[in-house]
């Protein structure tokens, strides 16, 4: 699959896709003010696999929500693919998510009592893709995560690992350049966790998709090629897993 980023990577340095400049996210006011992000600046290049780590309350989820355009910064700039998306309104951010972001969550977040295929088709429904094409793309996305034979299964009929793979298929069916994963293995045992991580590294290799993953497990973070460590809303370390986790 041609992804546009591969060629650039081969020719040298891949372009920057995510750029946060001195970003703050502040909740509350005065004495109860909480700085979830306290002046964070970082850049992520296309095709990178970045793990965000840190204790709970360190701002790692807030950071990912802002990168994923689920939330907007209180102050500072967020440039996505050269566009300032930090100041966009709700519906515009929804459109950025629709076309450029795929989400995978800790608790899978598949629609209940809905078949795997319908779940995967859902983003295409919002994109306005015709049913026949939608169906074809959803089938091949499910096949890509090795669930071609479980199209009709609802989430209750799938194991945790399978549900997370359906979620990955759903996140990737619109072929977004960025995949955001919030504790994708948090609810899985080690066998299934390895299954899901293998899946993520595979899609990254095959499609050159940029992955930003929040995790608190060092074993999982080692799958990434770069680890960002957050403490108290600040980015305190940034380097290879070997450097940061040492």
């Amino acid at each position: 699959m041609s992804d546009g980023y591969g060629e650039v990577r081969e020719s040298g340095v891949p372009p920057t896709i995510v750029e946060l400049c001195d970003v703050y996210k502040i909740y509350g006011r005065g004495a109860t003010e909480v700085r979830a992000l306290d002046g964070v600046s970082l850049t992520i290049r296309a095709g990178e696999f970045v793990a965000i780590m840190g204790p709970s309350g360190s701002g790692k989820s807030t950071c990912m929500n802002i990168i994923g355009c689920l939330d907007s910064p209180s102050a500072g700039q967020y440039i996505f693919s050269g566009v300032d998306v930090g100041t966009l309104g709700r519906d515009e951010r929804a459109l950025v998510r629709r076309h450029f972001m795929g989400f995978v969550f800790q608790s899978y977040n598949l629609l209940p009592r809905t078949s795997a295929l319908s779940n995967v088709e859902l983003p295409l429904v919002y994109e306005g893709v015709r049913p026949a094409l939608r169906h074809r793309r959803a089938v091949s996305a499910l096949a890509a995560v090795g669930l071609a034979d479980r199209q009709a299964a609802t989430s209750a009929e799938l194991s945790g690992g399978q549900q997370q793979r359906v979620a990955i298929a759903r996140a990737l069916v619109t072929e977004p350049p960025v995949l955001l994963a919030d504790e994708p293995t948090g609810n899985l045992d080690t066998v299934m966790a390895r299954e899901v991580m293998t899946q993520l590294t595979d899609v990254r290799r095959e499609r050159g998709v940029t992955i930003v993953m929040v995790t608190h497990e060092p074993d999982i973070a080692r799958y990434a090629d770069r680890v960002l460590l957050f403490t108290d809303g600040k980015l305190v370390r940034d380097g290879t897993p070997a450097e940061v986790l040492a």
């Binding site: 709700r90 459109l95 629709r98 919002y126």
Partner: protein
């Protein structure tokens, strides 16, 4: 997002919760069904009243002794009765009319072993046409029988069915009070009207009833039919001035008799049934409103319950308006389904009731359209608030919702 996809998302959500969807819709079903049934029944009742009044006889005037206050609940005070000379005077002085005197009483009637108390009406042959109640078979009174007050009678269908029990009534002799009376004719069937069996009756020459049953030479009512349409008003005023003269009512004095037009009675009854229709329809409309509140209630609960689902949809690229549309369409689909089912139930129920009550079945496209559109409108109005609540959810909070 494609319109058809919005519709299919909404129907999927409805289908996922069949029982709840049905219960939600039930309010609308009952509301629409009762509005449609009530208004239809009201219209059927109006129609049945007017049809029955037409069957009493058209262009018909009742002339009765006493003082009347106009209106449906007329108050009558006693006054001197008419006699046959008044009837003759009307026949003589007023043009273009048919006049039938009537003296009503009841009598113990014996036919073989059967006996019953039956209304007996002394009258003349004009009654048959004036009151629009023709003979089925047999003959009318002969002039000799009328002038002499012979004991002959014409009987209604109920007597034939219930007292003769299949025997030939013509030529038979029955006992009416203390008089032996020969049956010469049978009236055609009229059916029931306002709780009265109009076929349970006996007609005799008025002189026979006066002498043999009542013992007075009175006439209790004079029926007058205008032969030409649209002349009842003229006939009415002619009769009034004639009777004022004959009964010596001073000009400016209060009449001790009154003339009542069937049209007037029909209008009075019609306005009563129309008022009732509006009243019943209004009560039913309240239940439709309550049904709408039921939809809103369930949709609000549904939005809270599906907060996480809404969060997922927002995360994968649904805009606020996509979520709004989904929930709004969901409530409109529910209320529309309720409207359709309610419409069918309402019309079916009306049909069943009118059939049971022997009323004419009136189908009003207007009220069906109004009832249905009202149910759709309720879906829009009461669905909007919950849908807006869903659309305004913050995706992060919605995703965290347990």
């Amino acid at each position: 997002m494609r319109v058809l996809d919005v519709l299919s998302l909404s129907t999927q959500a409805i289908a996922r919760n069949k029982l709840r969807s049905f219960l939600t819709t039930l309010g609308i079903i009952i509301g629409v069904a009762s509005v449609v049934a009530m208004v239809h029944l009201g219209q059927s009742a109006t129609r049945s009243v007017t049809e029955r009044i037409a069957s009493i006889g058209s262009n018909l005037l009742f002339v009765m002794p006493g003082t009347s206050l106009r209106g449906p609940g007329a108050v009558r005070t006693s006054a001197e009765n008419f006699d046959l000379s008044d009837v003759d005077a009307i026949r003589r002085e007023v043009d273009g009319v048919e006049v039938a005197p009537a003296l009503a009483t009841t009598a113990r009637v014996v036919v073989g072993n059967a006996n019953d108390t039956i209304p007996v009406l002394g009258t003349s042959n004009e009654y048959l046409s004036v009151r629009n109640h023709p003979l089925d078979y047999g003959r009318a009174f002969e002039s000799g029988e009328l002038s002499s007050g012979a004991s002959v009678c014409i009987i209604g269908k109920t007597l034939v069915d219930e007292m003769f029990l299949g025997q030939e009534p013509l030529g038979a002799t029955i006992r009416v009070g203390r008089t032996a009376c020969r049956v010469i004719g049978v009236l055609s069937e009229k059916g029931e009207s306002m709780g009265q069996d109009r076929d349970k009756t006996i007609l005799m020459p008025i002189k026979a009833v006066q002498r043999r049953l009542v013992g007075k030479l009175d006439v209790s009512v004079i029926y007058v039919s205008a032969l030409v349409d649209g002349t009842t008003k003229r006939v009415q005023s002619q009769i009034e001035s004639l009777l004022r003269q004959r009964r010596r009512v001073d000009s400016g004095g209060v009449d001790d008799f009154y003339v009542r037009d069937t049209q007037e009675i029909a209008e009075a009854l019609e306005s009563t049934t129309n008022t009732l229709t509006v009243l019943l329809g209004a009560i039913a409309a309240v239940s439709l409103l309550v049904g709408g509140i039921g939809i809103m209630n369930i949709m609000l609960v549904s939005v809270t319950e599906r907060t996480r689902e809404i969060g997922i949809r927002l995360a994968i690229g649904a805009r606020a308006r996509d979520v709004l549309n989904q929930f709004l369409v969901e409530s409109i689909v529910l209320s529309t389904l309720g409207g359709i089912i309610g419409l069918l139930l309402g019309v079916g129920g009306t049909w069943l009731l009118t059939w049971k009550l022997d009323m004419p079945f009136v189908l009003s496209p207007l009220i069906m359209v109004v009832g249905f559109s009202f149910s759709v409108a309720i879906g829009v109005v009461f669905g909007f608030f919950p849908a807006r609540k869903a659309a305004r959810l913050n995706p992060i909070d919605a995703l965290r919702h347990e």
